[in-house]
């Protein structure tokens, strides 16, 4: 059997297992089965994860691996030796470095790390308890520093759950050095220390264990026998938290939530019950449940998810309902709407085209099982969120869904719907404009260019990891690498913001110029698809040419590496006046332009401003 056949079998094996486990809760026995099968096919993993800490992490990583698997992400896991999290990252030839993780989960037990914080209660002097807490924080900080210097892996740091039975008893909340005060202080410090560092994220284990119940999660026999920190519900909750974070690292969040109206956003059917017969108001139990759901939809929107409506109704009825009822959601919260009698799969496909997103970025939520099944059959790429029978459970069903999980929210996320809606308006304008040139002029595009610094890094990392179409070399740089480029004199790392008469598109592009070579080289350039087709790329190239030639360079080089998705960028260098100097059979090419040919090319960008360095 050839290697390719073995891979195929492995992939088929995992697909069959995933299919079998679909749509039912995970049981203890499933966890073990999944763990074994996934471990046997390590080469198929989407993400390689190392688990380090001072308690027994195997149950946690098995739980997380199994859960992530049922949600479509295969993890390869490596458990570090007990209480050797420092040694693991410090040893350059150790098993951790050989494993080459994409992510490292660090989970530390206060019982092991600072026993006098957990035990002894009032008998431990106040000063000692404070010192213990400072020591814990310092320990974690030093570990993060050590790990950051030696690995590009994303670091997920578990924070500390409150003790189920604090040593000071009832007096705990009143004491400045009680478990509540010190654990909360520690967790606040952990949260703020790496807030702007895209390589480090905090896992809120404290909240996870609290939700599961700290008493139910603590099994002293398991701890004393094997240093297993959480059992039962606590293990499940901690495993779910880790799995969600790892899935969020392994794949992009869904971009768009399409909603039905009748019995989804409000109770009743507007065409039959009339606007006044709808249940969506305070004072009525059903009405309040639908209001709660609308608020949950707003929460999801605020995370950067674009909303759309797909409803079989008369448009006038729906407009009247949104106009007359005092609803949390308004019609202009939706970037695209299809309110007519067309089949929903047709409308969903149209909306995806209109918003210029793939069907695999779409989640569709409906209360009607028949509509849900239709979409599953007709558009298998679309994720269907079938709402439960009871409207009281709608909001939780939406907030519990993993589809929209992101480890970091950027300021871009809060304005996504507006940005997409503006794009739809631009498209309408394009249809009425006489020719392309006058259309582009009418947009009134203005750009701002700046050097990458700490504040923009999370967004820049998002751009490098998510942009597929206009991406010249598809280098998926890690946050650590991007941070290094931003601080290095050998590289010039810049970004571009775009706005026009219709609104702000935000930070939409970035490029890396390599300077420590004979001829400056464009290493990579990414431009979000929402900024394409308006000559922004020409403005970028003019800017780069101007910079390097003004500094005395004889020529500028650029690389293009083809992928299945980046055809829109294939002719970029030629269009900017570069000559292909080298091209291999796969279409990878190096292009060059001499200073003598380096004048700016015409483009329809009205205004370019350069952001001064702070």
């Amino acid at each position: 059997m050839s290697a390719a056949e073995i891979d195929l079998d492995g992939a088929a094996d995992l697909t069959a297992l995933r299919e079998e486990l679909k749509d039912r809760p995970l049981r203890t026995a499933d966890v073990e089965r999944i763990w074994r099968r996934v471990a046997a096919h390590e080469e198929l993993a989407d993400l390689r994860v190392a688990w380090l800490g001072n308690h027994t992490l195997e149950p946690l990583l098995r739980q997380a691996t199994a859960l992530a698997f049922t949600h479509g992400v295969t993890l390869a896991s490596h458990a570090g030796a007990f209480d050797q999290h420092f040694q693991a990252v410090l040893d350059p030839e150790g098993s951790l470095q050989r494993f080459a993780p994409d992510a490292i989960v660090l989970s530390l037990s206060l019982r092991g790390l600072a026993p006098r914080l957990v035990r002894g209660g009032a008998a431990v002097p106040i000063g000692t308890r404070r010192k213990e807490a400072c020591k814990v924080l310092e320990h974690v900080r030093q570990w993060v520093e050590a790990a950051r210097d030696r690995t590009a892996a994303t670091l997920l740091i578990g924070n500390f759950p409150r003790a189920p039975r604090p040593g000071l008893g009832l007096a705990d909340p009143g004491s400045p050095v009680g478990d509540a005060a010190l654990v909360d202080w520690l967790n606040d410090e952990l949260a703020s220390t790496w807030r702007d560092d895209p390589q480090v994220h905090v896992l809120d284990l404290n909240a996870a264990i609290a939700r599961a119940g700290s008493l139910a999660s603590w099994n002293p026999a398991m701890y004393h026998l094997a240093k297993i920190e959480w059992s039962g519900p606590g293990l499940e909750a901690a495993g779910e938290l880790a799995a969600r974070a790892l899935c969020a690292l392994a794949r992009p969040a869904k971009k768009c939530l399409l909603l039905d109206l009748d019995n989804t956003l409000w109770g009743g059917i507007v065409g039959e019950d009339g606007v006044d017969g709808l249940k969506v108001q305070p004072g009525d139990p059903e009405g309040e449940a639908f209001l709660e759901f609308q608020h949950a939809v707003q929460d999801v929107k605020a995370r950067g998810v674009v909303l759309g409506l797909v409803s079989k109704n008369n448009r006038e009825d729906v407009c009247e309902a949104f106009a007359r009822l005092e609803l949390p959601l308004r019609l202009d919260d939706f970037a695209a709407t299809r309110i007519d009698w067309e089949h929903k799969h047709v409308n969903i496909r149209q909306i995806a085209q209109e918003l210029n997103i793939g069907l695999d970025s779409v989640v569709f939520a409906d209360d009607n099982p028949i509509e849900c099944e239709l979409i599953r059959q007709m558009l298998p790429e679309v994720e269907v969120l079938a709402l439960p029978a009871d409207p009281a459970a709608y909001a939780d069903a939406l907030l519990d869904a993993w589809h929209f999980d992101k480890l970091v929210l950027t300021s871009e996320d809060a304005h996504k719907t507006e940005q997409y809606r503006d794009n739809v308006a631009r498209a309408a304008k394009r249809r009425t404009a006489a020719d392309l040139g006058s259309y582009l002029e009418s947009l009134g595009t203005c750009v701002e260019i700046g050097k990458a610094s700490g504040a923009e890094l999370p967004r820049l990392h998002q751009l490098f990891s998510k942009t597929n179409q206009f991406n010249l070399t598809t280098q998926r740089y890690t946050p650590a690498e991007l941070k290094r480029f931003a601080g290095s004199g050998d590289w010039r790392f810049e970004w571009i913001r775009v706005r026009d008469n219709f609104g702000d598109l935000g930070l939409v592009g970035a490029w890396l110029l390599r300077l420590d070579v004979r001829e400056p080289t464009i290493d990579s350039l990414v431009l979000s698809c929402r900024a394409l087709g308006r000559e922004v790329e020409t403005a970028i190239c003019n800017h780069v040419k101007q910079q390097v030639f003004a500094a005395g360079a004889e020529a500028l080089l650029g690389r293009f590496l083809p992928t299945a998705k980046n055809r829109p960028a294939a002719g970029f260098y030629e269009a900017q006046g570069f000559t292909v100097v080298e091209e291999d059979a796969d279409g990878a090419k190096t292009c060059r332009i001499a200073a003598a040919d380096g004048q700016a090319r015409p483009c329809c960008v009205r205004e370019i401003t350069i952001k001064e360095e702070a």
């Binding site: 026995a29 073990e32 074994r36 027994t56 149950p59 026999a221 398991m222 039962g232």
Partner: protein, 76 residues
């Protein structure tokens, strides 16, 4: 042997249910390592609604002993 216990063993240790007997022991079954021992205990506690003491957990060496222990326990 209790069929429920047999399937707990098979699931947790990844064994063929027919291969699980009262004589299946920690000494002879390589999959029954210390971590799986605790997973087995958790699965048994979950399945039979009982709580084993630390001493009991440490004392178990064969499937038969565990079965006797379960029979002697009151449900919680």
């Amino acid at each position: 042997m209790n069929p429920e216990l047999r399937s707990v063993f098979a699931d947790t240790l990844g064994l063929d249910p027919d291969a699980v007997t009262a004589d299946t022991s920690r000494r002879s079954e390589p999959a029954w390592d210390s971590l799986n021992h605790l997973r087995l205990v958790t699965a048994v506690e979950e399945t039979f609604g009982i709580k084993l003491s630390m001493a009991e957990i440490q004392a178990i060496t064969t499937a038969g002993e565990l079965e006797t222990m379960i029979d002697g326990h009151d449900k919680i």
